[in-house]
């Protein structure tokens, strides 16, 4: 365990253009491989989920953020620490539901969509759907089931990009029988 403290936690950065264009190449490929936008959306979500499941460990190791007390704190950590660390942006957290179980992330800019314009025949494509999968996958690994979807998207002509997140339940850890 003592070795861990020596681990390098420097967070290397790179120019966002390679990232943006690579993501674009991926979405283009999916659009060629699948029949319709719904299938592409699903595939993007699935890939995002796989990323999220792996990303959470990287995140916890680098950020040294502890356990969140409530969903509001989770929201803040996602917006101010995680988005900042990985995408270099800080979305604002707003539109809380009265019960405090649902909120919106408003993205002023979204590095995934630089240079992007949706052609008319892809009007149901949720271009950045990968992000929803990432958030869902990462939170699932810290025992939170959430529902994540795009409520608004500048690519479809909205003024801002809004990701809506809803808390569903805590996932109880299922220890294998006899493993107490």
């Amino acid at each position: 365990m003592s070795r861990q403290s020596n681990r390098t936690t420097d967070n290397k950065k790179m120019n966002s253009e390679l990232f943006t264009l690579t993501y674009g190449a991926l979405v283009t490929q999916l659009c060629k491989d699948y029949e319709n936008d719904e299938e592409v959306n699903k595939q993007l979500d699935k890939m995002g989920y796989n990323i999220g499941v792996r990303l959470i460990e990287d995140f916890l190791a680098r950020s040294s953020v502890g356990r969140c007390q409530d969903f509001r704190e989770t929201a803040d950590v996602i917006a101010k620490v995680a988005f900042k660390m990985y995408l270099g942006i800080t979305p604002s957290v707003t539109n809380w539901s009265p019960a405090g179980d649902e909120f919106s992330l408003i993205l002023e800019s979204n590095p995934l969509v630089d240079f992007v314009e949706l052609p008319d025949n892809h009007n149901t494509l949720i271009y950045s759907n990968l992000l929803c999968g990432v958030l869902r996958g990462a939170l699932e690994m810290v025992q939170m089931a959430v529902d994540v979807r795009f409520a608004q998207d500048t690519l479809r002509g909205d003024n801002v990009t809004e990701i809506r997140m809803k808390f569903i339940k805590r996932i109880e850890e299922n220890l294998p029988a006899g493993d107490e």
Partner: protein, 198 residues
């Protein structure tokens, strides 16, 4: 980025329905950065996705290269505008330097380690990168030891050369790190020779 197969109709739409917001964006680079981990995770998903749809290493590299083509094609124009004031290269050596310096800096934040010409063949050049960022977090399984995911970079370079009027084939090899082998069409070299001395 999804629109290089625009039909006539779409083309008309584009110019009649009013200026799209994207046309108002400045070309100059607003320097933004993302974390290398984010890129590594994304690239890893890409490789896995490609792998699930192919039967051989060659096919997998082919798929990565064709995705790289999309990146190269989109990047070329913006780089020529930004770095060269819209002026295109006409000589083989200059386009290679453009790739070694400008393209590499835009993509990876540094120049490529080396640019070399083959001793025995005037059509063949090598761009050598000791530790490409793309391969930094990839461990290649023993049974597929020839796989080099920098095939993606190869695709980018091939697209930039081809769209600049220097048709070439780019292949990727494990040699002194990663070597991109660029083989120009014979016509390109012949043309270059007639330009000599001008």
């Amino acid at each position: 980025m999804l629109n290089w197969d625009m039909s006539q109709n779409e083309m008309e739409n584009r110019f009649t329905k009013g200026k799209s917001a994207i046309l108002e964006m400045p070309l100059a680079r607003v320097k933004t950065e993302v974390s290398v981990s984010a890129f590594a995770l994304l690239f890893s998903e890409m490789v896995q996705y490609c792998q699930s749809r192919v039967y051989s290493v060659a096919e997998l590299q082919g798929r990565l290269a064709s995705m790289g083509h999309g990146v190269g094609a989109s990047l070329l124009d913006v780089l020529v505008m930004r770095e060269k004031n819209g002026k295109r290269e006409t000589k083989v050596l200059n386009i290679l330097l453009f790739i070694k310096v400008n393209v590499w800096k835009a993509l990876f934040g540094k120049e490529a380690d080396k640019l070399e010409q083959a001793n025995d063949d005037d059509k063949t050049y090598y761009i050598i990168e000791k530790d490409p960022v793309i391969n930094a977090y990839i461990s290649v399984p023993k049974e597929n030891s020839t796989l080099n995911c920098a095939a993606f970079t190869g695709g980018i370079v091939e697209a930039i050369l081809t769209h600049s009027g220097f048709p070439a084939k780019v292949t990727v090899h494990w040699h002194k790190g990663t070597t991109l082998m660029i083989k120009f069409d014979a016509a390109v070299i012949a043309r270059d020779k007639t330009l000599d001395g001008r």
